[in-house]
Symmetry: C2
Subunit: 294 residues, 2 copies
């Protein structure tokens, strides 16, 4: 039996893979195009497999090794309808498992322990593992959700800047800066808002945090609203003995000082990244398979 495991992070912009030995030591890494299984199942499958081949090549292993390894693929949408099962049926591995992107993120951050993760980038989403059972909330997108996302911080800034322009609410150095960027013309702010995608709004998130740190009252209000949303979501997932909370994503560090003390006390540094989570899960499957064969 080949004592190798492959972990794959099937992401919306690229797939990343790593081949590891039975102790989890990485022997080679690979990369390929995106995996968006809900919109392009066949293309996603090709990229997932190609990233594994790329990792085997980097490890100096023959291509046919692929049919002998245990592998875990983490990908968004794996729990929607039969999308995950359709990918899983067509994988070339000896033992291949398709799981959600949430599970590999959780495994990467917490290892085999229980706990809660919250991820804050353009969007925001939360996942818990308790007694091995997963529960995820949020991640509904910024139009009707993702209250602590970078996109919502940016959208809130635009809204509060227009209220300040209309003299309905006070202005601040931050709203003045925002309006100046659009030549003081509210029509241009509205034009930007209507043409923009979540990631465009999210570009304002670091600015909001910077001004909040300098005491800007409107920035502080925006961040406090978002941090309260984080606290509410964490409370919805936590249980009395929960051992750890990990914050992930580009805004994780920025949010940390704004959280409720009861949550700060549980914060832990993530053990590893999402790819690390996929590798660990694949190694777990490999060890189980070896036990079964022994």
């Amino acid at each position: 039996m080949t004592e190798l495991a492959i972990g794959i992070d099937g992401g919306g912009s690229s797939c990343r893979a790593a081949v590891a030995d039975r102790r989890g030591n990485v022997l080679g890494r690979g990369k390929a195009g995106p995996a968006n299984i809900l919109s392009d199942l066949d293309g996603s499958l090709l990229n997932i497999v190609e990233s594994a081949h790329d990792a085997l090549r980097e490890a100096g292993l023959p291509a046919e090794t692929i049919s002998k390894v245990s592998a875990v693929v983490g990908v968004a949408g794996a729990n929607v309808g039969d999308y995950g099962a359709r990918i899983e049926r067509n994988l070339p591995f000896a033992d291949g498992h398709v799981v959600t992107d949430a599970l590999i993120a959780l495994q990467g951050a917490l290892g085999d322990s229980d706990g809660v993760i919250g991820a804050f980038g353009t969007g925001s989403v939360y996942n818990a593992r308790r007694d091995g059972k997963l529960r995820g909330i949020g991640g509904w997108g910024f139009v009707v959700g993702d209250q602590a996302s970078g996109a919502r911080l940016g959208r809130d800034l635009l809204e509060k800047s227009l209220l300040a322009y209309d003299k309905v609410r006070p202005s601040s150095p931050l709203t003045a800066k925002l309006m100046a960027e659009y030549g003081g013309d509210p029509e241009r702010v509205v034009e930007f808002a209507h043409a923009s995608k979540p990631r465009d709004f999210a570009r304002y998130a670091p600015l909001v945090f910077d001004y909040a740190a300098q005491g800007d009252k409107i920035a502080i209000g925006i961040i406090k609203d978002a941090a309260l949303a984080i606290d509410e979501n964490l409370d919805a997932l936590l249980w009395p003995e929960c051992p750890a909370i990990c914050l992930l994503g580009g805004l994780a560090g920025a949010y940390e000082p704004w959280l409720a003390e009861r949550h700060k006390a549980l914060l832990r540094v993530p053990k590893g990244d999402v790819l690390q989570g996929a590798i660990e899960l694949a190694v777990n499957y490999l060890q189980e398979r070896q036990k079964g064969a022994a």
Copy 2:
């Protein structure tokens, strides 16, 4: 001199016109296609003029009368760049004036008096006339504004329903009804939200008001937030001696009981509609012209 005036409400879905005598008695009404001067200046001009011709026809007046009347056209975007001036230059009337849709709404509701109007339909917008001077706020669209619009009420309902689904916030009969409409599937709610235009969200506004009247706590919270936004916007426009506030639009009556007492005390029934406002302004110009000629 022909003693006739034509008022035109140049709307985004149709143009309505009325020809009146010097006392404002309507002799005939007309209708034509939409006027969206920012996106279709030439088409808007054709429809504006056609609505006037249609009104003259209904009044039994010869077509050439058009070149002898005073006219006022109220249209959105009249104050943006030189759009209003470009329409005005090409009008076939003896004396034609292009003004904002806000001004004809204000004139229709308040007559020649000072006061404040707020309009609440799919969007929300506020206008004041004080000592004859106009000031408008709001109307920036529901992505980053229009806090008391039907679209925002609907969007808030979807957001609060997803928070209830995730057990982050309490549920209520209204959020349960909303989720049931989508088969209890949050993915379908999100799909609707991302495919929808403001008027699609706004279809939920009457439901939110209905449930609020029955004591639904989440409905009440949504309406109170919106009513607070109205109060803030009115406060930004009001002055100590302001004699009147008129609420216009499909949601005007529904909001009335939710407003602050200080604003309820100033509420007045609108004197007339927007077309009435355009007619009055046109009659005013006619009378001035006649004075000038006398």
